[in-house]
Symmetry: C2
């Protein structure tokens, strides 16, 4: 409404959140890109573009966090299946700790925000 030039709220998920999600899914079992693409949406990631996902997988492959191998598909093109490595598992544990820290920060924010809300609503 009014003349306000409609400004989107550009606050999103943690930076590089895709990688933790992929590692977690791969910790649940080996998979391939296209399948992961459909599964990540369950973790809060919305409208993931395939390009970024495949790039992320390749990068983690080169870093040794995952291992990939081509496997023929019964019906359709071949798939590059990814498997978590020990190093990737370590990385997953480390990143889970970081995400927990972030959760704590967000909780601190929420509490402080609530305090501001109540302060500006003295009635009652």
């Amino acid at each position: 409404m009014s003349g306000a030039p409609r400004e989107e709220v550009p606050v999103g998920l943690p930076r590089n959140y895709l990688r933790p999600c992929l590692l977690l899914l791969l910790a649940e079992g080996t998979s391939h890109g296209y399948e992961l693409l459909e599964q990540v949406s369950a973790l809060g990631l919305d409208r993931v573009d395939p390009g970024g996902l495949y790039r992320s997988l390749r990068a983690m492959d080169e870093e040794g966090l995952v291992r990939s191998s081509w496997q023929p598909s019964a019906s359709g093109p071949a798939r590059r299946t990814y498997q978590l490595t020990d190093e990737g598992r370590e990385w997953l544990h480390a990143v889970a700790g970081s995400l927990a820290e972030i959760s704590r920060s967000l909780e601190a924010y929420r509490a402080r925000y609530q305090a501001v809300l109540e302060q500006s609503r003295p009635a009652r």
Copy 2:
């Protein structure tokens, strides 16, 4: 411990997290850049660089989320003090909702991570 080759874990706070923090602090009372610079660390932001903070404040000023005015200091250089506008307050409410969503996503991740942990520790 752990002699792992120290691959940094590049997972950080939500994107554009600085703005919500600044808006929240300004909702608690008017302030100026240098003071905000010291206060944001309490909200989880670590090693914020002044450049980005001042730029962020300027940007929000131009977008109408805050209003600024120069005020002389008793001892030291003049300060540009910032004050939250109504539009900024709306933005704060909206962004608090977004952060709550992010918290929910992180909680989903944590739960799923815990499940993987317990699954991979059946014996021994």
